[in-house]
């Protein structure tokens, strides 16, 4: 029985290896093609090549222009802002070097905001992964009302974040909110300042609302991943007398690995950028208990008009997100994205040695 896992992963690992082996000659062939047609007539191919270039330029340029105008230019402007003290109007002349960065990094509100972001990154993975997995495994069984249940789980994700935020804000109102009313009818007294108004509870409340909102995404992704697990494996396991629990643990979850890792990446990026839900539920309060890097920079930029500070904070946010994303790619996602040659070869060699 212990062998099941190995048997399962081996073909999975082997199949990409074979596919790259097939792909290689194809690539070589396509490289060879222009070389082969070159003697046919230089002028003709030159004109054709130019035409092709013009065609590509024609189709790609609009996208590149938009990308430059709305993505790259703003990023460059933010970097430029971050080294000036600027109030949002008039010329940018007050150059301060890296002082904005120093003041942001020394600002307790910002470091707390970064901590909150990291708590939410870890917290949402710890909460949503087991919950999402459990629900996906349950919903993957054939049962009555399966489609309906899947829809219900997915509904919060479909709702606009702002609308979900406003609804939860009203539900969580102290004293007059639905949740406090329900608690009161059960004889439980909610926190006197409300779940969102108590500094020690606010971040966890936000995390619960986020879990409610984004659990649907985890479930739907895991369900999609489960469709990719071959029926044959279940059949084989059943023939070997594996229990349901053993099948899940040794077949389903390992094969769901790539899906879970991709989901983890999306979840992490989402948590780092977290803004709308916090802005609506608490605005970063009470007593800065729920600030995130994004609320910090919006507060500094549009409310206090310290655009230099906000620019520095946004660059730091960018760097933090980039570093975490690259680290995640390198340490966790690499096994999914990298061609399996190395591993496959190592395995084969190991087999040969044996």
């Amino acid at each position: 029985m212990i062998d099941v896992a190995d048997d399962v992963t081996a073909p999975a690992a082997a199949s990409p290896a074979t596919s790259t082996a097939v792909a290689e000659p194809v690539a070589r062939a396509s490289q060879a093609r222009p070389a082969g047609s070159a003697p046919g007539g230089r002028r003709k191919t030159g004109a054709a090549a130019w035409r092709k270039r013009a065609e590509i330029a024609f189709f790609v340029a609009p996208a590149l222009v938009l990308m430059f105008l709305f993505v790259i230019l703003p990023i460059l402007t933010a970097v430029q802002m971050s080294v000036y003290r600027w109030k949002g109007f008039g010329p940018m002349v007050d150059f301060v070097g890296l002082r904005n960065y120093v003041s942001v990094l020394n600002n307790n509100v910002f470091t707390d905001a970064l901590t909150h972001n990291l708590i939410i990154v870890v917290g949402s993975i710890l909460l949503q992964l087991p919950l999402g997995l459990a629900i996906a495994l349950l919903l993957n069984r054939k049962m009555w009302g399966q489609g309906l249940l899947r829809t219900i789980i997915f509904v919060p994700y479909v709702l606009a974040e702002v609308i979900a935020g406003v609804v939860w804000f009203q539900l969580l109102q102290p004293q007059y909110g639905v949740i406090d009313t329900i608690l009161a009818s059960l004889g439980i007294q909610g926190p006197p300042q409300g779940f969102l108004g108590t500094p020690d509870l606010a971040l966890w409340t936000v995390l619960v609302v986020l879990t409610w909102k984004y659990l649907g995404l985890a479930v739907i992704l895991f369900l999609a991943g489960l469709q990719g697990v071959s029926e044959d494996l279940y059949e084989a396991a059943a023939l070997d007398g594996a229990s349901w629990w053993q099948v899940q643990r040794k077949i389903t979850i390992p094969l769901l690995g790539p899906t879970m890792r991709t989901w983890g990446f999306l979840s992490m990026i989402g948590s780092l950028q977290l803004f709308d839900m916090v802005w609506i539920l608490t605005g970063g309060g009470p007593a800065n208990a729920t600030t995130t890097m994004a609320t910090f920079l919006v507060n500094e930029g549009t409310r206090r008009q310290n655009f230099g500070i906000a620019g520095a904070a946004s660059v730091i946010l960018f760097v933090v997100a980039l570093v975490l994303a690259l680290a995640y790619q390198y340490f966790i996602l690499r096994r999914d994205t990298q061609p399996d040659d190395g591993r496959g070869a190592r395995k084969k060699r190991k087999g040969a040695d044996a």
Partner: protein, 435 residues
């Protein structure tokens, strides 16, 4: 190799197109005079925030009347929701393309705009109008020159529900802090939440601290503190201690740390309008806000009452001094001269009179005060007109950067996470950073 070159060519092409495009769009304030708003000598662009009902109709009529009185002049009116207007104004300033006549709120923000060369100096061109509204000009002047014409100035005080006060057996509105504490105890004893405050938005909470400062510090102390950027006078810490005293009485609505100021029935204004609390510290806008938050659009109706902020024992400030602020018409630097005429017309007796009759605000033109019909507002106006000085909201006065730091720290004080000294330190260090 060819692929690489082609890629580079495309990037270069894309980049050059983008540069051309962005060059045309213009960035920063350098190309302000070529903006569409500055071009025509006979066209005035006017942005205001009376975008609904009678107010909007009235302002459209004002524009039409001005056009009729000045043949050849066109007034392009843009009525916007208040927050939208502020966002658009910020964007317009950044692009160097501000409207000709628009709203200013005075204080540090106005000073910043003056420093950036966005506003026309009105001291000489509108001297007559300025002389009629002299008492309110202080917040709209920089180094003795006037840059905007205040058309509506209100003061902050407690709005209260007369019926709930009666129910709790309160017969007189409090004039001292001790009396206010007694009122709070009486309301609590009657099972009524005494006060709502929108500390989630910070500024409504900060108003308590401002008022304590105005009560505890004499006018001279405050003025010299601001002028010398030195807030070491003990009266500033005293103001925070007084506020801690009030917070310790626990007079506020449940969850006040995340309560919003004016949005929806669970906001501070909403709680007062729906009779869930007995009073709220707010400005002259409160009746209008409450009307918008109730089904019948009447707000508290007959039960609306107003009393000024109480005084402290042994305070240094004048007990009659009030805190407030308001809106003023400013004219942008590049606007045609006729725009100054228009701004003055907006302050004229007839426009201000109708402005008062429609309860759109508290007119600054002394001939118009008598036409304010709302009894609670009339009471407030009386207090305003008799005040020896009207201190501009401190956050407006200090500007967004210092003001924001101060408000955040006061919100922390409300949460019990900052001391009175912390608030003063936050103001001091933010003000130092501005230097």
């Amino acid at each position: 190799m060819t692929r690489k070159i082609r890629g580079a060519a495309i990037v270069a092409l894309g980049a050059s197109i983008a540069l051309l495009a962005s060059g045309c769009a213009g960035q920063g304030g350098s190309s302000s005079s070529s903006g569409s708003n500055g071009g025509d000598e006979n066209t005035i662009t006017w942005w205001h925030n009376s975008n609904t009902g009678e107010g909007k109709e009235f302002y459209d009529k004002v524009a039409a009347d001005f056009e009729a009185a000045n043949p050849g002049v066109t007034v392009q009116v843009s009525a916007m929701q208040h927050e939208d207007m502020l966002t658009k104004l910020d964007a317009a300033f950044q692009a160097g393309d501000a409207p000709d006549v628009f709203m200013e709120r005075g204080g540090g923000e106005l000073a910043d705009h003056v420093e950036a060369g966005l506003l026309k100096d009105l001291s000489d061109s509108a001297a007559d109008t300025i002389s009629t509204i002299e008492p309110y000009m202080a917040g709209f002047q920089v180094e003795g020159r006037s840059y905007a014409l205040p058309y509506s100035i209100g003061v902050v005080g407690f709005w209260y529900n007369k019926a709930l006060f009666q129910q709790a057996g309160i017969t007189q509105t409090p004039t001292t802090m001790d009396e206010l504490y007694a009122v709070i105890d009486q309301l609590k004893a009657a099972g009524i939440t005494p006060v709502s405050v929108g500390a989630g938005d910070k500024w409504p909470a900060a108003h308590y601290w401002y008022y304590n400062v105005i009560r505890e510090c004499s006018q001279e102390t405050l003025e010299s503190a601001i002028a010398n950027v030195d807030y070491s006078d003990p009266c500033f810490v005293k103001a925070g201690q007084n506020l801690e005293g009030l917070i310790a009485k626990e007079p506020f609505n449940a969850g006040f740390l995340t309560t919003q100021a004016q949005a929806g029935p669970t906001s501070a204004s909403g709680l007062l309008a729906t009779r869930k609390v007995a009073m709220e510290l707010a400005g002259h806008w409160e009746p209008g806000v409450m009307q918008g938050l109730t089904e019948d659009e009447r707000g508290l109706g007959e039960d609306t009452g107003w009393f000024p902020y109480p005084s402290f024992e042994g305070q240094q400030g004048d007990p009659e001094a009030q805190m407030g602020g308001g809106d003023a018409w400013a004219v942008s630097q590049d606007a045609p001269d006729i725009a100054v005429e228009f701004a003055q017309y907006l302050l004229s007796d007839e426009v201000q009179r109708r402005f008062a009759e429609l309860d759109m605000g508290l007119p600054t033109n002394p001939t118009a005060s008598q036409y304010v019909s709302d009894p609670a507002l009339a009471e407030l106006l009386d207090v305003r007109d008799n005040a020896p000085s009207i201190q501009l909201y401190l956050d407006t006065l200090f500007g967004t950067s210092v003001g924001g730091a101060m408000n955040d720290e006061i919100a922390l004080l409300f949460a019990g996470q900052a001391s009175p000294e912390d608030v003063v330190n936050a103001v001091q260090s933010a003000a130092d950073a501005e230097q």
